[in-house]
């Protein structure tokens, strides 16, 4: 593709400019992807180098350190205590004791780790148990795959935390030695406590939120990613019937093209296409119509601005499950709209409009109702931004003889697009995962009879996220397939975000509009 210089570009006509921009966008995509791969490579190189550096440092600290430091390699916190920093030392020591205790206890870390490779060897079984002096055959519970996986992951987290703390302990000895050598006093326990509300205040503030995220977000996500490599489903529930590692089998099932229309790959392709179409329309219809409404309300000479705005904003307050469920029933076969059309005599019984029964009708209705849901938000956002556009821009445009349409395309639209670029991206990915609207309106239906995966039914309005939910809930609860879909959703969202984010003008040249 020919690259134009700035001067050549300015000479181009409107249409040629557009084509040129579009071309350069698509030409840039492979480059972006390549840069992404490179940056991932660089990331791992950095990590590798970092680890190597840590090891040399650990070794040097040991070699050059005094006996207090050397003892600390085994007894954490010993150096701190010996040098008078009792509080720190005790905390280190306590952590070490807890860690070792947890690892060696009968049902402790070592036990879970040893089972992690097989996810349990024996389900519920019969055993000879001595009762009242007699040997009786009794059922005893066996391993629990679910717990093994969960506690196995937790133990690995704990080990990583221990290694980090141990490294910290070593580092502290080195620092303390340095400070003592230069003749300064070390910080006391009181200083340490004080620093928690002062220069180390961020640690205090972040402790609680990050613990919550670690346990209730990171741990479950790691767990569920691992489930994609097992055969965990209703049949293999981990308790009555153990589940185990199956390697890449589930991914092979997902991308198995040989089964024709009756496979996961067909379902995935179909649903991904609709998900992208839906996200595109849901984002841009809302965006432009919301902007239009905002401009109508804000136009000079329109009275009762507050009333119009309040009417729309009020609909945000009403919980979505009420409005969406109600509207969904309104459009149903025996709902308000069809029944009143029959009452009016416009249609006959049996000729009801197939809002939710026909695939195309359902898809269009869903997008239309989403406009109804989404415009109030966009109206608010657009209002805020429109008010920030300097009025003299419009004034000078008017003096130059620009008509309202030109004012819109030359000033308002570029300004809006520039400011809301990142918002458009997040709202696109948000719409891809817009569970509520689809599930409450159609539940994914109408069912797509041409595709069957042997698991949950696939519907014409199903998004990846609702499909994932259905796989979890119906058709034998194939958690492992749900997990594979989840990973794919992540990949799609991540790739879209990274590629588009790099191309956004507001990221590229932040100063342009200021």
């Amino acid at each position: 593709m020919k690259r134009y210089s700035d001067l050549e570009y300015l000479r181009l006509g409107k249409w040629e400019r557009f084509v040129y921009k579009l071309q350069s966008f698509f030409v840039a995509i492979p480059k972006k992807l390549w840069q992404l791969i490179l940056s991932i490579g660089r990331f791992f190189k950095k990590i590798g180098l970092g680890i190597a550096k840590e090891f040399t440092d650990i070794w040097l600290t040991f070699k050059d350190g005094d006996w207090k430091t050397k003892t600390s390699y085994l007894v954490m916190g010993f150096g701190n205590i010996a040098r008078g920093q009792v509080l720190r030392g005790i905390l280190f020591l306590l952590f070490e004791i807890v860690f070792i205790g947890y690892m060696v206890l009968p049902q402790g870390g070592a036990y879970w780790l040893s089972k992690l490779g097989s996810l349990g060897d024996q389900g519920p079984h019969k055993e000879m148990v001595q009762k009242y002096g007699q040997w009786v055959e009794t059922s005893v519970p066996g391993d629990n795959s679910f717990r093994i996986l969960l506690y196995g992951v937790l133990t690995i987290f704990f080990i990583i935390a221990f290694i980090y703390t141990w490294r910290l302990n070593v580092k502290q000895n080195k620092i303390a030695e340095g400070i003592l050598k230069s003749g300064k006093p070390l910080r006391s326990g009181k200083d340490d406590l004080h620093s928690l509300v002062d220069d180390q205040f961020h640690k205090t503030l972040l402790a609680l939120p990050l613990t919550g995220i670690l346990i209730f977000t990171v741990l479950p996500i790691v767990f569920m990613v691992l489930v994609a490599f097992t055969n965990y489903d209703a049949e293999h529930d981990g308790l009555n019937n153990l589940f185990t590692w199956v390697g890449m089998d589930n991914f092979n099932t997902m991308f198995n093209w040989t089964a024709g229309g009756k496979s996961y790959s067909a379902a995935f392709g179909e649903i991904l296409t609709w998900t992208l179409i839906w996200a595109f329309f849901a984002t841009f219809t809302n965006y432009f119509l919301g902007m239009l409404v905002a401009m109508m309300i804000n136009k000079k000479g329109i009275n009762l601005k507050k009333l119009w705005r309040t009417v729309l904003v009020m609909t945000i307050a009403i919980p979505q499950f009420i409005s969406l469920l109600y509207v969904s029933k309104m459009f149903a076969k025996n709902g308000l709209i069809n029944l009143s059309l029959i009452n009016l005599g416009w249609i006959q019984t049996g000729q009801e409009l197939p809002f939710w029964e026909d695939p195309t009708w359902a898809r269009i209705t869903v997008i239309l109702i989403n406009i109804w849901i989404g415009i109030p938000y966009l109206m608010l956002i657009a209002t805020g931004i429109l008010m920030n556009i300097p009025a003299d821009l419009y004034e000078s445009a008017r003096i130059d003889g620009a008509n309202p349409v030109q004012q819109f395309t030359k000033i308002t639209l570029p300004y809006m697009l520039f400011i809301t670029g990142p918002y458009l991206l997040t709202s696109f990915t948000g719409n891809m995962n817009n569970f509520n609207v689809i599930y409450l309106l159609t539940g994914g239906g109408p069912t797509n009879a041409s595709i069957s995966t042997g698991g949950a039914a696939v519907g014409h309005t199903d998004l990846l996220i609702t499909w994932l939910f259905k796989i979890t809930m119906e058709g034998g609860n194939k958690y492992y397939m749900a997990s594979v879909v989840g990973i794919l959703v992540f990949l799609v969202v991540a790739v879209i975000s990274l590629v588009v984010y790099g191309l956004l003008p507001s990221i590229k040249n932040e100063e342009d509009f200021q």
Binding site: L208, P319, Y326, V327, I385, G421, L440
Partner: protein, 294 residues
């Protein structure tokens, strides 16, 4: 002479402009009235149908033929009270705890420059790309082990909502970024600790965003449906309103519960809407700020 014609010309043109402005304004008024109707109509329908006494299922007209409070009485007789109380408790606890967590998180990320900051923010951005739906299964099993499901779903739900709320720090971080840092520095020079800077200087200035966070945190649990249903499944006493009322519109119940659903909808929406309208100003501020910051 020339001057006069020019003057007349200008007057004519301005009259013409005024006329065209009047026409376009009239069109806009008409559009706005239509839009307002479309947006309000379903809610007006809900209110009207909640007073209908003659038939309990969906019908082809809106205004009730027999007016009455039967549907509201029916709400009092069924489990709706429990669901309502459950949701209210959840919303209240979540509003308080989530606000504390979100503020801690966003303030720290806005003000402190520590070693892991960039990595932490990137990590949370990536975490946010995983569909949260996926973690439902394991959270359910864990909560079940802790005894926080079915009848005890309320504390379980509060725990899960609050624990992962640190991820939603973007809007309030954007707000904190706009408070000048020189304020912090001046106070630090005067000998205030970081904690004092937060409580004495930043928090009073951050009132709008605190109210925004409380408001959104309070409103979210009223609409949560999927996770709440998964956690409380099958035990009516652990439901929230969304879960309980969802079943009323299922195929076999809609005939007898449709109007009750409308009445319940009114009772649920009323307090939330009133609260929202009172604090609308702060909500608008938060939403617009959040979108501009991206």
């Amino acid at each position: 002479m020339n001057n006069k014609t020019a003057e007349i010309d200008r007057q004519k043109r301005s009259i013409g402009l005024k006329a065209s402005a009047r026409i376009s304004n009239t069109i806009i008024y008409i559009l706005l009235v239509i839009i307002s109707f479309i947006w309000l109509l379903p809610f007006i329908f809900i209110v009207l149908q909640s007073f209908r006494c003659e038939v309990t299922g969906p019908v082809g007209y809106v205004t009730p033929k027999v007016w009455g409070l039967d549907n509201y009485k029916r709400l009092l007789e069924c489990n709706f009270k429990t669901w309502y109380l459950n949701t209210f408790i959840i919303a209240l606890c979540v509003a308080v705890l989530q606000t504390i967590i979100v503020l801690c998180m966003s303030y720290t990320l806005s003000r402190f420059r520590f070693k892991m900051r960039g990595g932490l923010m990137r990590f949370m951005l990536i975490l946010g790309m995983f569909p949260g739906m996926l973690t439902m299964i394991i959270l359910y099993r864990v909560l079940k082990d802790l005894g926080l499901t079915q009848a005890n779903a309320v504390p379980g739900l509060i725990l899960v909502y609050v624990a992962s709320s640190g991820m939603g720090y973007y809007v309030s971080k954007g707000f904190f970024d706009t408070i000048p840092k020189s304020l912090d520095e001046a106070a630090r020079v005067d000998g205030a600790t970081r904690a004092q800077v937060l409580t004495k200087i930043i928090l009073p200035l951050a009132k709008p965003i605190v109210i925004y966070t409380i408001l959104t945190a309070f409103m979210a649990p009223w609409g949560d449906f999927v996770f709440a249903r998964y956690i409380a499944f099958g035990t009516s006493s652990g439901y929230n309103v969304a879960v309980g009322m969802f079943d009323w519109l299922s195929k076999d119940q809609i005939g007898s519960w449709y109007t009750t659903f409308c009445a319940g909808g009114v009772i649920v929406a009323l307090p939330v809407t009133i609260l929202f309208m009172c604090l609308q100003k702060y909500y608008v501020e938060g939403v617009t700020g959040g979108a501009v910051k991206g």
